[in-house]
Amino acid sequence: MRRSVDADSALIVADQVTVAYGVDPVIVAIDLTIERGDMVGIVGPSGSGKTTLLKALLGGISPRSGSVTRRSDLTVGFVPQVERIDWNFPVTVAECVGMARASGFRAPWISKRERVEIDAVLDRLGLHDLGSRHIRNLSGGQQQRVFLARALFTGAEIIFLDEPTSGLDVKTRHEVLHLLADLNADGVTVVLSTHDLNGIATHLPTIVCLNKTVIGAGSPEDVLVPDVLERTYGSPMQILEHGGMRVVVDAGPNASVLPFQREVGA
């Protein structure tokens, strides 16, 4: 990810993008270039515009001003927040993955060739033999991977993920992160939003700190610094080193205050 445009490798270029749902803009004057092979995490506090930026990059929202330019033949996949999924909707894993190929005329049923492709994608993501299972009857990590499989089944060159580890335990979160790293190593460009600085963001090669506008962008070493984090989160942050990784901790005046006290002898 670079801020300047490289015509050969740029997949999506956001140029001074401002998006508003009502009067007040949600994101302002965003300049961002996503290049082939990038693995980018967009971080920021709640309400900072992470999901809105993802949707603007996807083309799901038209900017009030500025422009988003996508390579004309770019194939994209989108993995929504799991909280947004209707888990009572009657789809099996195979149906969920198969619906992604919806362009042009296609037979309603999944062809033999598509079945082979779906099985291959499910195998790749560790969902072997779960094709006939209803999506509700899966673990949290498996559910996340089903929607990743749906994105991959379209042949997406770039996959957007909105809070992909939300609600997952630590082990499953690591599994998802490793899976994304493997996909990225295979050439898939990954752009995700996350509020999880230590669990996800510090592991990514590139981070965009967002609070209505881009506060900082670059490697964790460049971006995870007190000044950028304070401007992003509106609160002082301290950076610690642990096992070669950066760990961000709250350094604000109320950071160590725990008002809950056990009543002795109660």
Partner: protein, 282 residues
Amino acid sequence: MSWSELTAPYAFEFFRNGVYVATMAGALCGLVGCYVVLRNMSYIGHGLSHAIFGGYAAAGLIGVNLFLGAGIWGVVTALAIGGIVRRRPIGSDAAIGVVTTASFALGIALVARYGSPGRSADSLLFGNVLGVNTSDVWLVVGVSLAAFIFIVCAYRPLLFTTFDEEVAQATGVRTTWVDIALMIVLAATVLATMNVMGVTLIAATLVVPAVVARMLTDSFSAMLVIATAVGAVSGFVGMNLSYHHDLPSGSTIVLVGTVFFVVAYLGGGRFRSRAGTVAHAH
């Protein structure tokens, strides 16, 4: 009851037409109703049928073909509901409530002021399956074929848009056109089956088969097939029962569907858990 007694009413053309129409209308409503139920728009069948009543009255007043007027009115109403939901922070239930009841109120006012324009308002409100003629049969055949072809051709965009419209749009599906096309099919379905079921009962024929199917399966494609079959069987059995027991046909069809609902409610969970076990073991 002997076989000859069971088949006796088939000697009458009006009954044969009624059975044809009730069976096909049941299948059609079952098929289209799956999308209605899964989009949480169960009330739309009820609302649209009322709205079309308004169009029927208005068409009579201005002197255009009743069917054409009511049809255009229904499609415009359906599109208006879809448009309001997309453009304003209003839930589909509220938009349906406002648009369709306003249209129905207009129809009532027009009929009260200027009188019923043609077919009796009672038959439109409560249905008259035994009064259907050959043109009604062909109308239901035509709409059923069109709906079936549409759902086959647009199966995946329809499924994707119904399941997750935002992601479908983001990945290239023209969701607005999919919504518009579905609303047109829905309006045509309500219009074609209104003479059979009546304004007051049409919502049940749209919703009940789909709900029954949902309780029996966790697969979307299976739900479409089961809902279509339940709708068709309800129509066929309901028509025959209504003749032999001298009951109103529309009500009997709905009651047969309700029996399916009760059976599915009592046994559906067991069926689906068995299917899940098979999938797990597999």
